[in-house]
């Protein structure tokens, strides 16, 4: 059943991907801080009409509940603030990094709905934990980006992985390891390095299926919990979703109380459809 993909093959195909737009690289570099100005974002975005339009559509979604139309990026920056707009631009831009390809047996909609769910969970969990909620959203949104990379860069091998997973009712990562000899966490980390994400974010993606306390109660655990919460809520629409196990020490150190979990589930469910609608997933 195995059709092993070597790290060299992954690295070579990731290297061949088209580079991200310059504005995204700049925003990625500034994530978690304030090292970019509103003027610079507005100027650079004005040169990318597709990205601007998508950002504005999200800014005008029911998620933000604006009482008036946001008509321009400058307007969005004034109303929503730089940090929120940065998250919107990154979301819009990174979702375009892999174009939907027909006939590869991979459901893009299921993928992005799970990712958006994890982004919303990541944002709320980060807020509860006193972490940066924009980084929380981003780490949730991107935690499985390696899945998308594998499905697009190695479509035949990945299709076999999905069949194997379904036949044996496995966690996706276990099916990938069995069939491909690699997994989406490793590939996601390679991709995020290529996109110049910070080492802590790369580490979070690399270890989100095996978080351990030596990572500290930080981004690795947050990426893991975002993923687990989104799977638990079954937001993707896939009928055989399963919940990855959370190590006890991570649960004890980072999970909210039972009551807070209930409130968080409800909050994510109430926001989810509006965000998916805005992102057209």
């Amino acid at each position: 059943m195995t059709c092993a993909i070597t790290p060299d093959q992954v690295a070579a195909r990731v290297r061949d991907l088209p580079p991200l737009p310059a504005i995204l690289i700049e925003l990625i570099g500034s994530l978690g801080g304030d090292g970019v100005s509103s003027e610079a974002v507005a100027n650079k975005l004005s040169q990318d009409l597709g990205l601007s339009a998508k950002t504005l559509r999200m800014a005008n979604s029911s998620f933000f509940g604006m009482t008036r139309q946001i008509g321009s990026i400058s307007d969005a920056l004034a109303v929503l603030g730089l940090r929120t707009v940065r998250t919107l631009v990154l979301t819009a831009g990174l979702m375009d990094a892999f174009k939907q390809t027909e006939g590869i047996g991979f459901d893009f909609k299921v993928f992005w709905r799970h990712a958006v769910g994890a982004g919303l969970c990541g944002r709320l969990l980060a807020r509860d934990l006193g972490m940066d909620s924009d980084v929380g959203f981003t780490v949730g949104l991107l935690h499985d980006i390696g899945t998308l990379a594998l499905a697009c860069l190695f479509p035949n091998e990945y299709e076999r992985t999905l069949v194997w997973r379904r036949q044996n009712d496995l966690l996706l990562i276990d099916a990938e390891t069995a069939v491909l000899g690699t997994d989406h966490a490793q590939v996601g980390a390679v991709l995020l390095e290529r996109w110049h994400f910070s080492p802590v974010l790369v580490e979070a993606i690399a270890h989100h299926h095996a978080p351990a306390m030596h990572h500290g109660p930080g981004l690795v655990g947050l990426a893991h919990l975002s993923d687990a919460f989104s799977h638990a809520l079954a937001l993707s629409g896939q009928d055989d979703e399963v919940v990855p196990p959370t190590p006890t020490e991570i649960w004890n150190a980072m999970a909210p109380s039972s009551d807070r979990c209930m409130a968080l589930f409800a909050e994510v469910e109430s926001e989810f459809d509006g965000v998916c609608q805005a992102l057209q997933v």
């Binding site: 966690l171 919460f229 638990a232 959370t246 999970a255 039972s258 979990c261 209930m262 589930f265 409800a266």
Partner: protein
Amino acid sequence: MSETYPSEPVAVLSEAQQAKQEQVRLELEHRFRHCLRSGCISPLLHLMIRYKMRSLP
């Protein structure tokens, strides 16, 4: 001597509500079976089952 009691009010679910209920039941059953088979017990799954049961019509 027999006594008659007022019957409990029974909520009548619409077809959509019944379908939703059935979908949630199947989802939870699948996860629970996966959990037992894999030995991966998750406190999150327990909370989610409580949440989903509470929000059913």
